[in-house]
Amino acid sequence: MFGLTRHQLLGFAVLVVVVIAAPFVLYPIVVMQVMCYAIFAMGTNLLMGSVGLLSLGQAAYFGLGGYVAGYLVESLGLTPEVGIIAGALAGAALGTVFGWLSIRRQTIYFAMITLALAQIIYFFAVQLTDFTGGENGIQGIPRGKLFDVFPLTRDLAIYVVVAVIFLAAFLFVYRVVHSPFGQVVKAIRDNEPRAISLGYKATNYKWVIFILAATLAGIAGGTKAMVMGIQTLSDVGTSVSGLVVLMVLLGGIGTIFGPIIGALIVVAMQYYLAPFGAWVVVIQGAIFMICVLVFRRGIIGELAYRLRAEL
């Protein structure tokens, strides 16, 4: 099915069961938050895992998606699916422009450029108060009715929508990575000059991956804004960009299930450690350091290594 291997199919089955069972066991809002961040992390993992590019500015697309969805639904009274699709398109459009600028440079320069470009979006988010609400953000975004028919006010109703988006995003990312296009991208990551000499336009391939990552970030941001009913400056700040990288690193760079596990752990950590204030940042930083120093494969990466399977 969808070209998944036996281990992956098992993993996907477990994932579907967990997604169905979770809202009856856990607080649905938190599970939906995990799924939104997982979509965000899957996109970032495309960039980090498939092309080996570390972006430190993914919050720009995540935040923009949230602002666009929030604005359209809250101020213009459009339906939630329009908001989320518009958020995705906004992420894609911004990713097209910023991607074009940033893929001109590699590795650390790429990281610094993406970080700096994201700062532009942050400053606009602060300045354009008519659109973003400035320091207050966009408050009280109504969940409204899906297709103007199904009301999403109840947590379980919107949960179904988020779960569908999440599973669709998962299968989409899997198909991209395992398509002929994805194979070329992998070839470029492993040996760019060789891929170029074989006639592939490496820059364009990287650009497309960059846009896909931005689009997924836009979807994630838009969906999260609909779920939480609020969109603030913190969703577009540098710390969110760092957080999503941490999710990917913790779960396992280049694995297909890693971003989900990473998102789960990071969101749970923020939720349970919230009473400890700034210690959350210290612990996150320490996990970053531990991952880099001794645990570079990440959780799923380590598991896959032990099982000798691709997960």
């Binding site: 440079r105 590795t107 610094m112 210290v282 970053f288 880099v292």
Partner: protein, 295 residues
Amino acid sequence: MVMIFGKPLPLLFGQLLLGIINGSFYAMLSMGLAIIFGLLNIINFAHGAMFMVGAFVAWGLFTYLGIGFWAALVCAPIIVGVFGLLLERAFIRRIYKLDILYGLLLTFGMAQVLQGLATNYFGSSGVSYNAPNALSGVLKLGFMYLPVYRGFVVVAAIIICFVTWFAVEKTRLGALLRAATENPSLVQSFGVNVPRLIALTFGAGVALAALAGVLAAPLYSVNPDMGAQLIDTVFAVVVIGGMGSIGGAILTGFGLGIIEGFTDVFYPQGSAVVVFVVMAIVLLARPAGLFGKVA
């Protein structure tokens, strides 16, 4: 009153000064980043945190030990430099052979830890640190008023930049450093202890950030985020200037500070983003940066 482009002259000079001051910090920080990057091949994401730690060390020296500004200018960089040596020994040394991005991630984590700890101990609003009495007051220059401390910062930054440039480009130690950047194994075969050279370079780079932090302490509020706010702009400066040369880092730092200052006069909302816009333009025209080698 003399007007230029519809703006009063003292205002323009005031903004020019402010731009040069911000530029001083951009120059000092991007210079340290360039030196560390040259030898360690690591982008020190914790550079802003070290700047912040430098300011807090100066504050702590005064508050707990009564050690004043002038002594702090010497002590704080040494303390932070030694701290940097320990970090290099404990963590950074382990990842030299890995992909360049791991260095960035590791130092990113370090920055978070340091910032989080500072927020826990001092609160996010921070503390205040006063300039020494000898540097308080205002000079009347005829065309503008110059706060003495601000003038001092500009002069000090120029001296620091010049001394660093001289040390790296014109001395024997600097020559060794540059040689080790080009070909570490060859330099090692000449009997130079390259790992020690690398460690000391990191310590020195970090000390430079701390020195900038001490200079910044009386100007800005000493708070846990002071480095993080600056470092984003410094990264843009590094991208614009390229990390090829120390001279390039210095010129770009000052230049962008001045551009930022003038933007504040004519289009205040734009001053926060102008550096990033300049970065985008430079990337379009010269992808390798103004002074950089292609990377």
